[in-house]
Amino acid sequence: MQDGSELQLVNAAVAGDIESFGELCRRYYGPMVAIAYSLLSDHQLAEDAAQESYARALVNLRRLKNRARFSPWLAAICRNVAKDMVAVKARRIDAADLSQAASGSSHNENGTLIRQAIEQLPAPARELIVLRYYNNLSYEEIASVSGISRAAINGRLTRAKRKMAAYLRRKGFPESQL
């Protein structure tokens, strides 16, 4: 997604064209919501975080040093906003509570265990998984906002899913489903 047209949009926005900024916001709304969701686990709060990150981005747009890296910069703002919301709004993920649903067995159904498996991943891997599956983003879109190569994304996604699979096995998840 990082192409000439995006750079043109960023340049136009920095020059004062707010509608260009709006177009950038539309393009990255899905990825930003996904990034926020990876930290907040709440759809509504994730959308609020994405929108608040746009507010911070708009007033600081002229401080962006490398205009070709607009989307990773925006993603960094979004992470910070979401982290603030985690601390303040208390809509936190509680590992103990999540685990409680699956206590000591593999009896519980899909959603809880899978989310728990995502939750135990390190933050960067968790974000990558959510980016990929939350809104079905392409590798190109993920590469654009994460600032890493497609090959690296592929490797990291593979490792993250192996970790999830290992976790699910430990929880007694049926092997035939993995």
Binding site: G16, L58, S105, Q177
Partner: protein, 581 residues
Amino acid sequence: MKADEDNKKLDEMISRAVGREVPAFDFDKWKDNHRAETEIFKSQTARQENSGSSWRLDIWRTLMKSKRNRVAAAAVAGICVLLTMILLDDAGSPAFGMTDVMAAMRKAEWMHITYEYAESDAGLDNAEPQVRESWLSVNPMRDITVFKNGDIGYTEHSTDQMRVQRYDAETNVLTTRYIPASVNSSYTSIVDKIFGDIAELEERGAAIERTDSVDDGRPAVIMNVDFIDDNSVHGRGSILIDVETRLPKRATFISEQSGRSSTIDIVFDYPKTGPADVYQAGAPREATMKVIGQRISADFLEAIAPYRAARENLPKPRIVVEVADRSTVSVIYANGMEERFEQVRRSKKAAPPDTEDFRAILDWAGKVIADKPAGPRIHINDGKNVYSANRDYSNPWTREEISTTRYGVGFTPAGLNYRGWPRIRTGVFIENDYATKNSLLCIETTSEPQFTGDSKLAEAATKTLYYIDPERDYMCVRIERFRHPVVPPWGGAAAEEVSVYDPKDIPTEPYLVTEVVQFGRIDSGHWYPGRISTTDKQSWSDSGRGWQMRTKTFDIRLYIDTKPEFPEGIFDPDRLPTADR
């Protein structure tokens, strides 16, 4: 090979668990909700500077930005007042100081504030002024805001929970959310919030003028402030304070720059009472109700206090070894605020010893971790952070540091807290035959169903009963979970089928029962669960003939040492395993 091609089944399950169609972004609406930022951006453009916001805009930004916490918005109104007072204080000639005003504001049980914000831009069509009206009360701490379009916001804070309500006039829907309060959003007074917000404004200089006046026949003081800030924005403020009550009554702030100006008019009054809820604020009682979460009542908090105290006061120091179903061994070391959790799982090469000997099991777990097979994980909680080390089949040890605000105290999914005194955030105390017959307390909690992005059922509505034994240190001795069977494993029912998942229409027979079947006591007399049995009637398994629901039982045994000798460095995160050791 792409990661996606590795495992289609897992991909599908992840998509179902977290997948969601993100709605389209409405930039026009966003601009409407972020007029302050848009204004800053325009002013930056006009100046062609890369600088930040002006003083006036900072205030309006704070006023506007928090949709969820109207207290912050109201606090900003107070900032206008207090800024003037601080500056007056700095000038060295106050008739009364900030402390007096703060004290007076604290005493006011209710504060009613009307804001009007208007912009004008020479040569352009100017937007209609924005008007909103808020009421704030200190005890209970709540704020109610009525917007010009008829929407109403209501937030009530308590130490355990926030009740956040929003009435949408367009759809006639009143949404109520019960949100657990975090440490950082715990009850603080409105005035204390103001203190926090004004700190950064104290350094600014301004010309202050004081005039004695009369307002409604009462002696008053008018403070005028006039200044030009770092970004050449000319600001003028005026505030009227009642001399007798020390309370602000009206304030106006005007900022001007390059032909643009903005005005905030604020009117304060301090009624004896105000709207106690959204209905008194104007929401129709026939509005469609949508409730998310379960309310924590004052009665519940009072009744559960002994349970929570018992949970907090479990004997320490201690080492607890837990053997779950003869396959997973967890070891929990606890000393003061420090906690360490290790978990290893049975493998073909390493099975837990078939013994009741605490030390033998502990030694086995230590050996498994030292030998570094796949599977072990270790967490250390030092009260501030959780340090985690994990090892799986494909990777060496990896480490992570996480703030405990995410995991909370007693974070381990095993051991004494988790098995005997599980965290119960909300619920209601009820009476039933089992509780009465066994002289137990019973708490009922419910949860709403959750859906995936494609409207499939992710988690059915549930009901849980916790049975607490006041004669055994308020230990939770039995848990019953209820829900409708989730029919397709790893799938979920469509949204239109979920009426049967309503928590009010839930089966009367539990699908899962967890019960303490053997009790233990340590030397101090403290009770602990020695053996726990779980029966799960909705355990899905695939034995090669397709998915089948079975009944499965689990057995968990706990062993405890309350006079432990902790190995050196056991709570030191720097000594967690790394990729090299």
